[in-house]
Amino acid sequence: MKPQEEKDFKQLFSSLEPEQPSMRFTKNVMDSIEGLPVAKVSKNYVNPWIVKGIAAMLIVAIVVLCIYTYTSADNFSMPGTDILGKLSGKAIPYFIGGNIIMILLLAERWITGKNRINNLAKK
């Protein structure tokens, strides 16, 4: 936007004030919260190590199950999962590469989202 247009807009809104609610607004809010306790932060009553422990147990259980299944069975194949076998030899690297790219994009989006909030705190 041109600087003059930006200046015009700032001047336009400089005279604008936010709309005011009714006079009873604050009293209504305070009446609503009367008797309501402030919710405790979950980390105060849920030990994070318990959550991490349960998650680790589940992941280990899944990995052990997969390893045991693949090593103990002859000609193991689960129905409907032979996707890679249906792909031609040249398509497999592209398929794997596409999955890796999608995982990286999701990870980047997640990290960017966290950093956005942290950067606001630094300002």
Binding site: E19, M30, V41
Partner: protein, 194 residues
Amino acid sequence: MQEQLQDTDIIRAVLQGRKADYAILVGRYQSFVFTITSRYIKNREEAEEVAQDIFVKAYLSLAGFKGNSKFSTWLYSITHTTCISHLRKHKPNTLLIDNDKLVVYSDSQYHSTNVPAGTGTQKQAINEALKQLPDDDAEIITLFYLAEQSIEEIAVITGLQTNNVKVKLYRARQKLKDIIEHTYGKEAALLYRN
């Protein structure tokens, strides 16, 4: 003395049991929350009810405010999500309008070539122009110019990427400018300069 208290000090006091101090935060932000809510909910009484619910939600979640952002940004995030949820639950029977098309409906009271002098009616004119914007555009304009939130903060509030917010803000300003010029014609310049 109350104006000197930072938001974080008030929050700490409320969490320590001084519930009455929450009224200071309500008084400080009620107008902005109500204004943002009004951008989505046109009915004044309904908007006020929703705005009160927002403050109740904020109170219940107060312990979860980590201080990573300004309290206002956190509060406006709650405002944004609450308004969106409310609209989804109470979807009015209206015709959907393509946001890319600027729909300007003339009201004989405001379709005037005379921009009235006096700041009161000018504010009214600007407010009426804002009401003709799509809800999300009006919200972004309000957050940026009235609530003085930065682009990054608006991105956090609305859940959009920063670049998207910049584009939406630019387009919202263009639409608002078009509405004002369409409504007031040559006298639109008086709105900027008075």
